[in-house]
């Protein structure tokens, strides 16, 4: 599993495009928002938590179809299916690799972009924390969606239609945590719920993702 993780990470970094793309997309969305709603600091501060979370969600979505597509094209997915590690394990590793290449950079970049949107200072810690515990759920749910659509030639658009409704609870709790922190309220409850969704998806979704992969490899 470690070897697979290392391979996926190396592929993501060296094969160009995939690694920085999500981060650049995140940046562009954040930059576009003030053009859309105007540069008033108060308005931006008000909507910053939601914008940051929605942008994180969209940029996670951007790289989802790459999770299995390349492996499926060159046949290494079939090899992985016959390998000694179970497909559930493969799904977990794929989700983890996706998170490290697309989720983790977002977490690290978010405070900087928060400053650009004049997010109130007490919310920075919560923003970092909520993205840290919330983005793994985005990767895992996305891996499930990618497993469902891996056999389709043009699955990208369908993938977003399948995955975005599943993102709703994570988005609600994650953005709510940041909003509460920005208003100076305690944000522990939504933070814990965000973390619970991540933990729950990593515990259960691999089985659903593996079931989808098995059907598609049949």
């Amino acid at each position: 599993m470690i070897a697979l993780l290392r391979r996926d990470l190396q592929l993501a970094v060296r094969a160009g495009g995939g690694f920085g793309l999500g981060l650049a997309f995140f940046l562009i969305v954040i930059v576009l928002v003030p053009f859309g709603v105007g540069p008033e600091q108060a308005v931006l501060a008000r909507i910053a938590p939601g914008i940051l979370w929605v942008a994180a969600l969209l940029s996670a979505l951007l790289s989802l179809d790459r999770i299995f597509a390349l492996d499926s094209e060159d046949g290494s997915l079939a090899l992985l299916a016959t390998a000694p590690i179970p497909l559930e394990g493969v799904a977990v590793v794929k989700a983890a690799a996706h998170w490290i290449t697309s989720g983790l950079p977002l977490v690290l970049a978010a405070p900087v972009l928060g400053a650009m949107l004049s997010l109130p200072p007490p919310a920075y810690g919560t923003l970092l924390l909520s993205l840290l515990v919330g983005t793994p759920a985005l990767s895992m749910i996305g891996t499930f969606g990618a497993a469902l659509t891996v056999g389709l030639r043009r699955g990208g658009l369908l993938l977003s239609l399948l995955v975005l409704p599943l993102y709703v609870p994570t988005l609600i709790f994650g953005a709510e945590a940041v909003r509460r922190a920005a208003d100076g309220l305690p944000a522990t409850a939504p933070l814990i719920l965000t973390a619970a969704i991540s933990a729950g998806t990593f515990a259960l979704m691999p089985f659903a993702a593996a079931a989808g992969l098995r059907v598609n490899l049949r």
Partner: protein
Amino acid sequence: MSMWEYANPRKFMEWTGPVLPWAFGLAAVSLTVGLVWGFFFTPDDFRQGSTVKIIYLHVPAALMAINAWFMMLVASLIWLVRRHHVSALAARAAAPVGITMTLMALFTGAVWGSPMWGTWWAWDPRLTSFLILFLFYLGYVALWEAIEDPDTAADLTSVLCIVGSVFAVLSRYAVNFWNQGLHQGASLSLDAEENVSDVFWFPLLVCIAGFVFLFVALILLRTRTEIRLRRIRALDARAARA
């Protein structure tokens, strides 16, 4: 003789043939009685006036929108466990009916909300969860349409239906957490002390029964269509080979 024998496609066609007119007939009778009774022979509410009467469409539609998804979940589980093709086709047949019911509930709710709440739409937990349910239905139907091989499609949509059910429930609680509601609480619970008045309650019951019959009739009809469609495909394939 077990109940599963009725899931054999030939048997299914045999017993649903005679049942279908009855289901449609019962739906027509109870909907006519319920709606006419509700619209013309109940008093206006003292505060809401005649707008209260939209309840006879809104509540049954909302009820069936949720039950249609639940039925798809059960049918998907039956398909995954026992691999009855009719079950998968029934789940597929239920989705567009569910979409229609969801849209109907949202639309009648908006029509009622416009004079009563002063707004067509509010980000209320119930309204929002129905919108999310609608998106789930769309994704489900889109996945069915996208996959060519019928067995693969049935498998994948079943998995999606199960996962979607979990997330639909999760979303319901999440939106509760997220925003306070404008929508009134349940007024039809069997155990609640204060329910809707009997004058409105009895015609509503008839309407709900009518929607249930209509739902059953539509599902049977659509499932029969799917079975026939599949038979035609099989005949075509055989003809092409010969």
